[in-house]
C-alpha cells in the first residue's frame, strides 16, 4: 500500500506528467508498481474481454491508454486527473453504464481505478497519442456523400429500344432497352382471362366475377383493358385493397399488444381514413402531412385529426408502473416507424450507435425523435368540426341542465369508488406521484406528458367502476340511470372519438441522447444537411410546429428519400419486388436499385402528376411489361441468363396473401359481405379482411398461417412461406369443409334452371368459372367426373356419419382448441338427453365463453340449462342477463324453479353482480350447495381470460332452494329447451357439469380434466369429437337439425370436389 507521502508525491508527479508525454522511463517505480499490481490486473480481468483487442463493444477499447482517451461511441472514457468526469469511473460506480455487467466491482477495486485516473492515468510505455478511429463521427467520406438514395432525382432521358413497337409506355422503354442489352426478349401478353384476374387481385384484392371475365374476354375493342383498369381504380374496392399495404407499413392494429392486448375501440377510424384517402386519390404529400401533423397544419379538418392516429398505433401496456420508461419506449418506437415508413433508411440501427454501414448518426436518430418529443396522446378525443362541436355543446348544455340533480346523485354514490380507483397512483414511482400532485400549471411539458400517460391507468379503473359497486349502490345507480335515460331525447348523439395526437404546448421537452447526455434539437439527416428553421412556419401558442416542419420537408419535391421510397413501394406491390430491393431500406445493406433510372423517372413523373397514386397505378398496370404472360416461349434460355427475372422478361406467379385468400374464399362461396367501414368485426363475419379486428396477440388461424404480420413493427413486404401447417388448415379444418359445402351449393344454385340430367355437368362448369375464372378443360371435366363417380361409390358404401361442416367453430381468444359459434339469429340445438344422474343434489356448472351480444330485453342469453323456462315445471338455467333487466343487466344469473326450503314451490333468481363485457373471453362457474357445511349458498366464479392481472373472482350468495329438482328434459347448451327467448350469441368452449359444489382448486379453470365428480365434460374439439363427452359417462350431444347431405352421396362427392378446388394452386396463386 502507498502511504500518504507517496500519495502526495504521486499527485505532484502526475500533474507534471500530464503536461508532458508519458513514458515508462519517467514513471516512478511506485506508480509502475501500482499500475502493474493493481490496475492492470483489474482491467484485464473485468474489462478486456469485451473492450480489448479481440472485441470492442460500443467501439470501445480499454487495453491501451490511447484507446481510453479516444473512447468509444459514448465519448472518451477517461479524463486524466479527473475521475469524476471520467466515464470509466461513472460506469464502474454503476452511475451511467453499469460495468462490468456481470456484477459491480468491490468498493476497494473502484477506489483503485479512481486513484489511477486521479493520478493522470499513468500507463507504462504509453504516450499521449490518441489513435484515429475510422468510420466514426460526422465527417462523411466522399463515398458517403455519393450514396445513391440522397442524390437529387436525376433528369433521365427515356431510352429508345430498337423493338420499340412492343412498348406501350415509358416504363417499357426503360426496361426493354435493358432487356435488349442482356440479350433477353419479352414474353407475349397474358391471356385476357389471366390478365383480368391478375389486375383484379392487384387493384381490388379480389377475384373477378365470372361474368366480368366473360365480358372482358369478349370485348374486342383495343382499349378494353384500359377501360377495365379505370373501372377498377374508380371502385371503392381499390381503397380497401391498397389501404392494406399502407396499414402494414404503419403497423396499424386494433389492440394494445401487451398482455391484456386491450381492444382499441376507435382505431378503426384511421383505417377508414386511409381507405377513404386512397379512394379519393388524395395526393401523397397531403396524405403524409395529415398523418404527421394534421392537427397543426389543418386544425379544422376532421379527417386530418383522424390521420394523426398514425402516431398512436404503437403498443401500449395499460398497467406499467414505470411510466417514464414506457413513454421513452413509445417515443422511440414512433421514431423507428417514421424512419422506416418515410425515410426508408435504417434509423433503428442508429438508436444505440452511429450506423455501421450508412452515413446515419446516432444524433440523427435523436434529432428525428425530437420532432415527436412534444406529443401528447389524449384519450377520448372527439374528431369534429368547430361547428359540430358548438352544436353539440349547446344541446349538451340543455341536457345537463335538465339532468343536473340526477347526475349529482350518481356522482355522489360513485365518489368513494372513484377515490379507490385513483389509488393506483400510489404504485407509481415517487417522482411520478409528485408530478401528479403538482398543480397542472406548474408541470413542465415532460411532466404533463407523463401525468397524461400515468392517468390513463386511473381512467382504466374508472371504466371498471360498475364492477366494483356494492349491490346496494349498484341498484341505486341503476335506478338513477333509468331515470336519466328518460332525458335521452334531449341528449345529442355522441361525437365520434378518434385516436389522435397534439403537442403538449409551445415548448418541447428536451431530447437527450441516453448515457451521452447530449441534448438534441429537431434535425434532418446530417448528411442531407438542411436547416429545420427553413420549414418551421410561424410560431404558434398551442404547439411547437415541429411535426409540421418534418412533414413539409418530407413532402418537398426535392426530398430525395421520401419521394423515391413511396414510388418504389407502389412498384413493389404491383410486381412483388421493388426497383430498389428493400422498400424500407435504401441503405447499403438494402442493396442498390436494379433500375435506378426508371425509379427516378417514375418518381419525377409522380411528382409532376401531383403526387397522386391512381395515375401511377394506371401507368404501371397498363404497361406492356405488366401485361406479359408468366410463360415465355424460350423460358429456359431466358432463365439461364436472368433466373431471378431481374429484367422483367416475364411476369411472376405469386401466391395470394392472407387477406386475398380469405376474401377470395368468401367471394367464391358467395358469402362476401361488401359492407364498408366501421368498427372491426371478428373473422366469423363474412366481411372483407381489412375490416377484421386486428388483435396483436390473437389472429384468425387461417390468416395467421398464411403469413399475416402481427403489426408490432412496420412491415414493408409480406413473407410467403409454404408449410404443412397451411395444408392441414386448408385440407382438414371444419372451416374449410363448410366453405366447400357453400361453394357446392352456390354452383348448384347458379344452374338451378338447368334440366336435372345436365345439372351436374353445368354445376361442374360453373364451379370452375367461379373459382378459377375460366372454362373447365375437357381433361379436367373428365377427371372431375371420374372423381365424382368413384367418390360417390365410396360414400354410398360408407355408413353415413355425422356431418358437421354446417356448425361454425372458432378459436376463442386466449384459449386453444375449438369452440362452438352460437348464433342467436340461427340457433342450433345442442342437447344432451336426460339421465337420472344428471339431476344431482349439489352441483357445479362451468363454461368458457365469449358473448357477442346480449338481449335488449331482460331475457337471458343461456349458457346451459335444463329447463324450458316455464314456471310450472322444475328446472334451472345459467346465463347472462339482458340489457333491459330491471335489476341486474349484463351479469351472470342462476335461475331455478322448484321446491324451496320453506315448502313453497317457486322461482328463484340469483345474480352474480359481476359485469360481463361483450367480446371478452371468460371462464364462469356456478357452484350450488344444498347440503354440507355451506348448504344454502351459491358461489359464482368469473375470470376475464384476457386479463391475468386480475384474479379469479368469487361472489357468494344465498338461496332458498331445497334442491334443484329434476325433470326429464334434456340439458341444452346455448339455449333453453323449446324456448325462443334464450339464445346465446357468441363462443362457448368447454362445458363441465359436476355432481359436487367444487372448491377453487378443483375448478375447470385450474384443473382441466375429468374427476370423480364429473358428470359430463364437453370440449367441442375434433378429438374426441365435437359432440362427444370426454367423461366416461358418454353423454353425447345430439344435434337434431344437422344438415345431412349424406342422403345424397353424389352431392357429398361434389362438396369434396369443391373442397379440392379451394386447395388448388391455381386458386391460391395469381399468374
Amino acid at each position: 500500500m502507498l502511504n500518504i507521502f507517496k500519495y502526495i508525491m504521486c499527485i505532484i508527479f502526475s500533474s507534471w506528467l500530464m503536461m508532458s508525454s508519458v513514458n515508462a522511463a519517467e514513471l516512478s517505480p511506485e506508480v509502475m508498481n501500482f499500475f502493474e499490481k493493481e490496475v492492470r490486473p483489474l482491467l484485464s480481468e473485468h474489462c478486456w474481454s469485451c473492450h480489448g483487442e479481440k472485441e470492442q463493444k460500443g467501439a470501445l477499447r480499454l487495453d491501451t491508454r490511447g484507446h481510453m482517451l479516444l473512447g468509444g461511441e459514448s465519448g472518451k472514457s477517461i479524463t486524466p486527473g479527473k475521475p469524476n468526469e471520467s466515464l470509466l469511473i461513472e460506469s464502474v460506480r454503476y452511475e451511467s453504464y453499469e460495468m462490468p455487467p456481470s456484477g459491480k466491482l468491490k468498493d476497494d477495486q473502484i477506489k483503485v481505478l479512481e486513484k489511477w485516473v486521479s493520478l493522470g492515468a499513468p500507463w507504462p510505455g504509453a504516450d499521449d497519442s490518441v489513435p484515429v478511429r475510422k468510420d466514426l463521427g460526422p465527417d462523411f467520406t466522399s463515398e458517403d456523400r455519393a450514396w445513391w438514395a440522397i442524390q437529387p432525382l436525376q433528369n433521365v432521358t427515356v431510352p429508345i429500344p430498337s423493338a420499340s413497337d412492343w412498348c406501350r409506355n415509358e416504363i417499357d422503354q426503360f426496361l426493354l432497352s435493358k432487356l435488349e442489352q442482356q440479350g433477353l426478349t419479352t414474353a407475349p401478353e397474358a391471356s385476357r382471362a389471366s390478365l383480368i384476374r391478375r389486375v383484379y387481385f392487384d387493384l381490388h384484392g379480389l377475384p373477378p366475377r365470372p361474368e366480368e371475365v366473360q365480358k372482358f374476354v369478349n370485348d374486342q375493342s383495343p382499349d378494353a383493358y384500359e377501360r377495365l383498369v379505370d373501372r377498377l381504380l374508380e371502385s371503392p374496392r381499390y381503397g380497401e385493397r391498397w389501404a392494406r399495404h399502407w396499414l402494414d407499413v404503419v403497423r396499424y392494429a386494433d389492440s394494445d399488444g401487451y398482455r391484456a392486448d386491450g381492444y382499441r375501440p376507435d382505431a378503426w377510424r384511421y383505417r377508414d381514413y386511409v381507405i377513404r384517402s386512397l379512394n379519393e386519390d388524395k395526393p401523397y404529400n397531403l396524405f403524409v402531412q395529415e398523418q404527421l401533423a394534421g392537427d397543426e397544419l389543418f386544425p379544422n379538418d376532421v379527417d386530418a385529426q383522424i390521420a394523426t392516429g398514425f402516431l398512436t398505433h404503437g403498443i401500449y401496456e395499460w398497467n406499467t408502473r414505470d411510466v417514464a420508461g414506457q413513454w421513452d419506449i413509445i417515443l422511440n418506437e414512433l421514431t423507428d416507424t417514421v424512419g422506416d415508413v418515410f425515410l426508408g433508411v435504417g434509423m433503428q440501427c442508429a438508436r444505440c450507435h452511429d450506423h455501421k454501414f450508412d452515413p446515419i448518426l446516432q444524433k440523427d436518430y435523436f434529432q428525428l425523435r425530437a420532432f415527436f418529443e412534444p406529443i401528447l396522446i389524449p384519450t377520448n378525443q372527439v374528431a369534429a368540426t368547430p361547428k359540430q362541436l358548438e352544436e353539440h355543446r349547446l344541446k349538451m348544455a340543455a341536457w345537463e341542465l335538465a339532468t343536473g340533480e340526477i347526475r349529482k346523485e350518481i356522482t355522489e354514490i360513485e365518489a368513494p369508488y372513484r377515490e379507490k380507483a385513483k389509488a393506483v397512483i400510489k404504485s407509481f414511482p415517487p417522482s411520478i406521484q409528485a408530478m401528479i400532485k403538482k398543480p397542472e400549471e406548474e408541470r413542465s411539458p415532460r411532466e404533463q406528458q407523463l401525468v397524461a400517460l400515468g392517468w390513463r391507468q386511473v381512467e382504466h379503473n374508472y371504466k371498471g367502476l360498475d364492477r366494483k359497486l356494492k349491490p346496494d349502490d349498484k341498484e341505486k345507480v341503476l335506478a338513477l340511470r333509468r331515470k336519466l335515460k328518460k332525458f335521452d331525447t334531449l341528449k345529442p348523439a355522441p361525437l365520434p372519438v378518434a385516436q389522435q395526437v397534439r403537442d403538449v404546448g409551445q415548448v418541447a421537452p428536451k431530447t437527450t441522447i441516453p448515457k451521452k447526455h447530449t441534448e438534441c434539437e429537431p434535425g434532418f439527416l446530417a448528411i442531407i444537411d438542411k436547416p429545420v428553421a427553413d420549414f418551421m412556419g410561424s410560431k404558434r401558442k398551442d404547439t411547437t410546429s415541429r411535426r409540421s416542419a418534418l412533414a413539409r420537408w418530407l413532402t418537398q419535391d426535392s426530398n430525395p428519400l421520401s419521394t423515391r421510397v413511396i414510388v418504389n413501394r407502389i412498384w413493389q406491390y404491383h410486381f412483388g419486388k421493388g426497383l430498389a430491393p428493400h422498400s424500407s431500406d435504401f441503405g447499403r445493406l438494402g442493396g442498390p436499385p436494379a433500375h435506378p433510372e426508371l425509379l427516378d423517372w417514375l418518381t419525377q413523373n409522380f411528382l409532376e402528376g401531383g403526387w397522386q397514386f391512381k395515375s401511377l397505378h394506371r401507368l404501371i398496370v397498363t404497361s406492356a411489361t405488366y401485361r406479359q404472360s408468366t410463360q415465355h416461349p424460350q423460358e429456359e434460355v431466358m432463365a439461364s441468363i436472368d433466373p431471378a427475372n431481374k429484367y422483367y422478361w416475364t411476369a411472376d406467379t405469386r401466391r395470394l396473401d392472407a387477406e386475398q385468400i380469405r376474401d377470395s374464399i368468401l367471394t367464391v362461396t358467395g358469402e362476401l359481405d361488401l359492407d364498408a367501414g366501421g368498427p372491426g368485426v371478428t373473422a366469423s363475419v363474412a366481411r372483407r379482411s381489412i375490416y377484421l379486428r386486428m388483435m396483436r396477440n390473437s389472429s384468425d388461424p387461417l390468416l395467421d398461417v398464411f403469413d399475416l404480420p402481427r403489426f408490432f413493427v412496420s412491415v414493408p413486404a409480406r413473407d410467403t412461406t409454404t408449410s404443412p401447417i397451411q395444408s392441414l388448415q386448408l385440407f382438414n379444418s371444419q372451416q374449410m369443409l363448410r366453405f366447400a359445402a357453400q361453394l357446392s351449393n352456390r354452383a348448384y344454385d347458379d344452374v338451378a334452371a338447368t334440366p336435372d340430367e345436365e345439372k351436374e355437368d353445368a354445376a361442374l362448369r360453373r364451379a370452375w368459372e367461379i373459382v378459377f375464372g375460366r372454362t373447365v378443360t375437357k381433361a379436367e371435366l373428365s377427371m372431375a367426373k371420374e372423381f365424382l363417380n368413384r367418390q360417390t361409390e365410396l360414400l354410398s358404401e360408407q355408413e353415413t356419419t355425422v356431418n358437421l361442416p354446417q356448425q361454425e367453430t372458432a378459436t376463442m381468444p386466449y384459449r386453444n382448441g375449438q369452440s362452438v359459434v352460437f348464433n342467436a339469429k340461427k340457433p342450433s340445438p345442442f342437447y344432451v338427453a336426460d339421465d337420472k344422474r344428471l339431476n344431482p343434489e349439489n352441483c357445479t356448472i362451468e363454461a368458457f365463453f365469449q358473448i357477442r351480444s346480449i338481449y335488449d330485453s331482460g331475457a337471458v342469453r343461456t349458457l346451459i340449462s335444463k329447463w324450458s323456462g316455464k314456471v310450472s315445471e322444475p328446472g334451472w338455467l345459467f346465463g347472462v342477463t339482458g340489457r333491459g333487466s330491471r335489476r341486474k343487466p349484463q351479469t351472470l344469473v342462476f335461475r331455478s324453479f322448484g321446491e324451496k326450503k320453506n315448502g313453497a314451490v317457486g322461482d328463484e333468481i340469483v345474480f352474480s353482480d359481476q359485469h360481463i363485457e361483450l367480446n371478452t373471453p371468460y371462464y364462469a362457474a356456478v357452484s350450488f350447495h344444498v347440503s354440507g357445511e355451506r348448504a344454502g349458498t351459491i358461489d359464482f366464479y368469473l375470470k376475464d381470460l384476457s386479463n391475468d392481472d386480475e384474479q379469479l373472482g368469487r361472489i357468494t350468495k344465498t338461496h332458498q332452494m331445497k334442491q334443484v329438482q329434476g325433470n326429464n328434459l334434456p340439458i341444452a347448451f346455448g339455449r333453453m329447451v323449446r324456448n325462443r327467448n334464450s339464445f346465446f350469441d357468441g363462443l362457448i368452449d368447454d362445458i363441465r357439469l359436476s355432481s359436487k359444489a367444487l372448491d377453487v382448486e378443483s375448478l375447470l379453470f385450474t384443473q382441466e380434466s375429468v374427476t370423480k365428480s364429473t358428470l359430463g365434460y364437453w370440449k367441442f374439439d375434433p378429438v374426441p369429437g365435437m359432440l362427444q363427452d370426454s367423461s366416461p359417462n358418454q353423454y353425447e350431444i345430439t344435434h337434431n337439425d344437422r344438415i345431412i347431405s349424406a342422403g345424397n352421396p353424389r352431392r357429398e362427392a361434389f362438396v369434396d370436389l369443391c373442397h379440392i378446388l379451394l386447395n388448388s394452386n391455381e386458386f391460391l396463386y395469381v399468374h
Binding site: 455487467p101 456481470s102 456484477g103 459491480k104 398482455r259 392486448d261 401496456e317 398497467n319 406499467t320 414505470d322 418506437e333 433503428q348 440501427c349 414511482p429 419486388k577 430491393p581 428493400h582 445493406l589 423460358e635 432463365a639 433466373p643 431471378a644 416475364t650 401466391r655 390473437s698 402481427r710 413493427v713 414493408p716 413486404a717 412461406t721 409454404t722 408449410s723 401447417i725 395444408s727 392441414l728 388448415q729 382438414n732 379444418s733 377427371m783 372431375a784 365410396l794 360414400l795 360408407q798 356419419t801 355425422v802 358437421l804 386466449y814 386453444n816 382448441g817 391475468d948 382441466e1008 380434466s1009 374439439d1021 375434433p1022 378429438v1023 379440392i1060 388448388s1064 394452386n1065 391455381e1066 396463386y1069
Partner: protein
Amino acid sequence: MFSLPHIEVPRTRREFLERSGYGFGSVALASLLAQAEASSAPNQGLVPHHQSKAKNVIFLFMEGGPSHIDLFDPKPLLNKLAGQSLPGSFGEILTAAGESRSPLLVSKRKWKQHGEAGTWVSDWLPEIATCVDDIAVIRSCWADGLNHSSSVCQMNTCSLIGGRPSLGSWVTYGLGSENKNLPSFVVMQDNRSQVVNGPRNWGTGFMPAVYQGIQLREGKQPIPNLNNPEGITDKRQRRKLSLLKSLNQEFTDQHSRQTELGARLASYELAFRMQAEAPEAVDLSQETQATRKLYGMDQEETSSFGRLCLMSRRLVERGVRFVQLYHGAGSKWDAHTGIEKNHSKLCKTMDRPVAGLINDLKQRGLLDETLVVWGGEFGRTPMSEKGDGRDHNPTGFTMWMAGGGIKGGQTIGATDELGLRAIEDRMHVHDLHASILHLLGLDRMKLVYNYNGRPERPTINEGEFQTKLVTG
C-alpha cells in the same frame, strides 16, 4: 421448421434455382423453407459455429415467476428482518404492484444442502434436490421487465417489446430440424389457459413463419387439424388428395419457374407423414410402467406435468430441436397473495416430473446432448404483497440448467443479502440466451438474419457466454 438438418437458405432466387434445378424435384423439402428471398438472408454459416455437446433444448418455463428465495436462494437475513421495511440502504425500488415499502415476508422453507456439491434447495423441491449434481444453479439472473407481458416476451425474444423472433425460432433457423416429419420447435403447456402474450411468444417476429413454434397437445390430435375431419375416412381423404395432385400438376408444369408450387404439393405429403408420426411421438402408452412412475404419472397431482415431461423426452429422442414446456400457463406462479398455498401446489405438480425427466434423460444417455433449462420470467421480491404474497422481481432471480455440456453440482452467482438484486456473476437474459446458443454451438454474433436491411442477431448484439456453466 420442417427442414433438412442444417438449413441452407438460398441467398437469391438465382442461387436457389442453381441449387435445385428447375421445377420440383428432390429438393422439395429445401424449398419448403423460407421462400421470401426478399427478407431471408445470407447467414454466416448456418451450421454450428463451434463444437458443442448440446443438440436439443427442453426449456421448462415456470410461467408467472417462481420465488427464488423460497426455492434455491436461501436468505437468512430475510427471516431476521421479516416484518420490517426494506432497509434504506437498498435504495428506491420500482415494483409492479407498487408495494416496495411493504414489510419483508418471512420464508417458511426448510433448507438443506444436497448432493456432493452441497447445493442449497428448499423443502419445496425434494425430488429436484436429488438431481443437483447434474444441475448448475444460476442465482444471479436479471431482466429488464416489470410486468409479465414484457418479461415473458424478453425471456423468449431478448426484447421487452414484441416483434422479434423467439429463441426457439433462432435455434431452428440456425440448426434446422433432425426430423422432417415433426416440427422442429414445439411448445406445450400444462393447462389450457393462454400463456401470457399467447402464440407470439413462440412466433418468429420478422422471420418467416416456418421457424415458429408449433403447439403440441397430447392425444390423438397433437397438432391442430392434424387428423381427418370428423367422420371422414382415410380412403376418402386419399382420393381427394390424388385429385388435388392431378389438378395441381398441370398448373405447376405451366409455371415451372415458381418453385413454391412444387413445394406446396410436397407440403400435403409432408402433412400426411406428420399425421402418422406426430401421434406416435406423443403416445405414452408405449412407455413402461416404471418410466411412467418415474415421471409421476402414477399420481394425480403430478401426472399432468409428468406426461408433458415424458412427451418432451420422446420428442427430443425423435429429433425435435427445441421443446418449450410451460408450467403454470396463464401466470399461475404469480403469487401476489398466498404464496404458501400457491407455491406448495405448483412445486408439488412440477418437482417430481422434472426430476424424472433429468433422470430419464440421463439413464438413456440423452442428457449430454439435451440442455434442460428451468426458470420463469423473473423471481419474486423479499417484500410482501397483500400480506402473504410476493411481487415480481426482475432484478435478481434463479434459473438452472442441466445437461448439454453443463457442469453440474455448482451454484453460479449471488444476489444481495435479501435476494433482491443480483450482484455477483450477474447474468442478464441476454447472457442466458447467449449461453444457451453457445452450448448448442451457435455464436450469438454469427447467427444473423437480415431484415429491413439490418443484420439482426438473436441477443440484439448483447450478452456473453458464461463460461462457468461448463468449467465450474
